[in-house]
């Protein structure tokens, strides 16, 4: 490429000409620079503005639950939390039946369902994600490592609706036949499929944390006579533990918020039960299944947005926490704090 030089270098113009030209060039380009920088800066604020807008617009539709007497009669915070006597002379219970004659908005069945699915997902994903991260960062030959990482990226790239489809059509049948389950779609089925999406999250964060451990630390351990797996388990793992924990926390956030898989593979029955082989209904799937048919501005509508607010706040805290752990770990490794 031919370099372009702005301004005349040869021949030297008269002094006053040079001053004029220099001045005009500078002024014009200064304005351009200023406008350009401000424009770029304004665009850079998009992410920040969007986060604020998300909170405002989700929370806005939640407010009637706190203020409007009509909405509160059906769906106040306490009615959503505690056992309710929905019909006279019957035992109080938790129930999610928003479309019944007596609308019931107990969040406990949904909360239990969400927790059960996430629990199964974590039991499935933590050993796989952390194990694969350890192998990739500590034991794998370089060539193999260059293959493992893209494979995990591919796994992360599978759309959740495809995983939901797979769990619904293939995994559910297989689980039912193998273990003789009563319900085809249940917490176990949804949780395993959910775990498949969590594995890449845990793997990526944990692997990053382990490869970030400085070489000098490893060399020190080797110099003391440790063999490769001793280096890993007495030196690298303890040092990278915060990073691994952050990966698990972020993975949990992912499991709570994931929608399509649980919507398709969990059975969507809001049951209060401790069994992992019962059908479940989660927060996210409830929003997805009911938002399309809900009457705009009804208590049901407000409750769905309330659930959205809960999900948003929960994942927000999880993400902040995960980031904070990673930041602290990075600082410690670089020796900025003691």
């Amino acid at each position: 490429m031919k370099p372009r030089v702005s301004g005349n270098l040869f021949p030297a113009p008269a002094l006053y000409e040079m001053e004029v030209e220099k001045y005009s060039f500078k002024k014009k380009s200064r304005i351009k620079e200023f406008v350009g920088e401000k424009f770029i800066a304004a665009n850079a604020l998009t992410a920040l503005v969007v986060i604020l807008l998300i909170f405002i617009f989700i929370f806005k539709e939640t407010i009637p639950i706190l203020t409007s007497p009509e909405v509160k009669k059906e769906a106040s915070i306490s009615r959503m939390t505690f056992k309710q006597e929905f019909y006279p002379k019957r035992d109080p219970k938790w129930s999610w039946q928003p479309n019944s004659d007596v609308p019931k908005y107990s969040l406990l069945p949904l909360f239990l369902g969400t927790l059960k699915a996430a629990l199964v997902a974590m039991l499935f994903a933590v050993p796989l994600g952390v194990g694969a991260a350890i192998y990739s960062s500590e034991f794998a030959p370089r060539r193999l490592r260059e293959i493992i990482k893209p494979v995990i990226e591919l796994l992360a790239g599978i759309p959740s609706v495809v995983l939901g489809f797979f769990a619904l059509i293939v995994l559910a049948t297989w689980l039912q036949n193998s273990f003789g389950l009563t319900y085809r779609l249940n917490a176990l089925n949804a949780g395993i499929a959910l775990g498949i999406t969590v594995v890449p999250v845990i793997f990526t964060v944990a692997e990053d944390a382990m490869t970030a451990i400085p070489r000098s630390l490893r060399q020190a351990a080797i110099a003391l006579g440790a063999n490769p797996w001793q280096v890993t388990f007495t030196m690298v793992l303890p040092a990278a533990l915060p990073g691994i924990a952050a990966g698990i926390v972020l993975g949990f956030g992912r499991a709570i918020g994931e929608t399509m898989i649980v919507l398709m593979a969990s059975g969507n029955a809001a049951i209060v039960s401790g069994s992992l082989t019962d059908s479940i209904r989660t927060f996210s799937a409830t929003i997805a299944a009911e938002m399309a048919e809900v009457v705009f501005g009804s208590p049901h509508y407000n409750v769905l947005f309330f659930i959205g607010t809960l999900l948003f706040i929960f994942t927000f805290i999880i993400n902040l926490g995960g980031d904070y752990i990673l930041l602290r770990m990075r600082e410690r490794i670089q020796g900025k704090t003691k």
């Binding site: 998009t46 807008l53 998300i54 192998y135 990226e153 495809v162 797996w229």
Partner: protein
């Protein structure tokens, strides 16, 4: 102690307690299981779907309550949607990355704040994006446009539409584009920028003429990953524009549209006759999965190319 070997050439401890077969084997097993899962999913979808894939299937609309015919409207809708999404997200994402890398210091307050926001945006559940798209784009912006420019009555913009679905997805893809662009920006050798400044170029000129062209592969990767992410997401577009079934293709920005992911969801869960729709369902899943896997492979290849260049530079 065995002294027959020279201690210096073979470290004694390595030989004695050498390699922890159990930890190595267990962690390797985790890798193998992950690879197997990926293999089972891809091969199951491939074997189940390859039989129905032909030109007819790809170029015709669904017929007979989705029990026959093809998926052309869903392919068209997906392409149109990600196209609009990419137009919206790439400029904003690239400028954010440039601002973070070129204009601010990594430890400045504004950089930290924006970074926290980006990380959080990446972690917001997709269904919450859907709620936001409904409340903000459809309910606030769309209804706002209607109340200013159109007479009251039937909503024009204030209803689910392809433009709102695309914009909702672009928020989801924003972190992907930013992260990928930033990686490319970091890989640009400092000498190139310094040479540009030495020739008298201003900062803006350097960015436009040197930095952006150099970062192009990274921007491209980000766009591809964004497309792959957007093409597969369903939850954010369920209430903001995707339709069960439409007899016509979307012809304007405020039309509803069919999309592959939502089509899969509808066929898998709402079909009255699951056995009859199953081959078509598998075919649709194969098209979507093939699309995302292909896009991801391209992104992986470009990225490893960038990394190689950085190592050799």
């Amino acid at each position: 102690m065995n002294t027959s070997r020279p201690a210096a050439s073979v470290p004694y401890h390595f030989k004695q307690k050498s390699p922890g077969v159990i930890p190595k084997g267990l962690t390797l097993a985790a890798v193998v299981i992950i690879v197997l899962i990926l293999g089972v999913i891809i091969s199951n979808v491939f074997l189940g779907g390859i039989g129905v894939i032909n030109w007819e299937f790809l170029s015709h609309p669904p017929e007979n309550g989705m029990e026959a015919g093809g998926i052309f409207p869903a392919i068209f809708g997906t392409v149109a949607m990600v196209f609009l999404m990419i137009i919206a997200v790439v400029p904003v994402g690239v400028m954010t990355a440039i601002y973070l890398q070129e204009y601010t210091r990594p430890d400045s307050k504004i950089t930290r704040l924006v970074r926290v926001a980006i990380n959080n945006l990446a972690g917001v559940p997709s269904i919450v994006f859907g709620l936001f798209g409904l409340g903000f784009f459809v309910g606030f912006i769309g209804t706002g446009i209607d109340s200013i420019f159109y007479s009251p009555g039937r909503p024009v913009w204030g209803q689910p539409a392809i433009i709102w679905a695309s914009l909702t997805l672009s928020l989801l893809a924003l972190p992907v584009v930013i992260v990928s662009t930033e990686e490319a920006l970091r890989a640009i050798p400092r000498e190139l920028k310094e040479a540009s400044y030495a020739l008298g170029a201003t900062k803006l000129q350097t960015i436009v003429r040197i930095i952006i062209p150099q970062a192009m592969p990274g921007i491209f990767t980000g766009a591809i990953l964004g497309i792959s992410r957007g093409a597969g997401e369903v939850a954010p577009i369920m209430f903001t524009g995707a339709a069960y079934y439409l007899s016509h293709l979307p012809s304007s920005l405020h039309d509803q549209f069919m999309v592959l992911g939502y089509h899969i969801y509808v066929m898998a869960t709402q079909s009255p006759n699951i056995e009859a729709t199953r081959p078509i369902l598998y075919g649709t899943v194969l098209v979507l999965l093939g699309l995302t896997v292909l896009l991801n492979l391209v992104a992986i290849l470009i990225r490893s190319h960038i990394r190689l260049r950085r190592v050799s530079a």
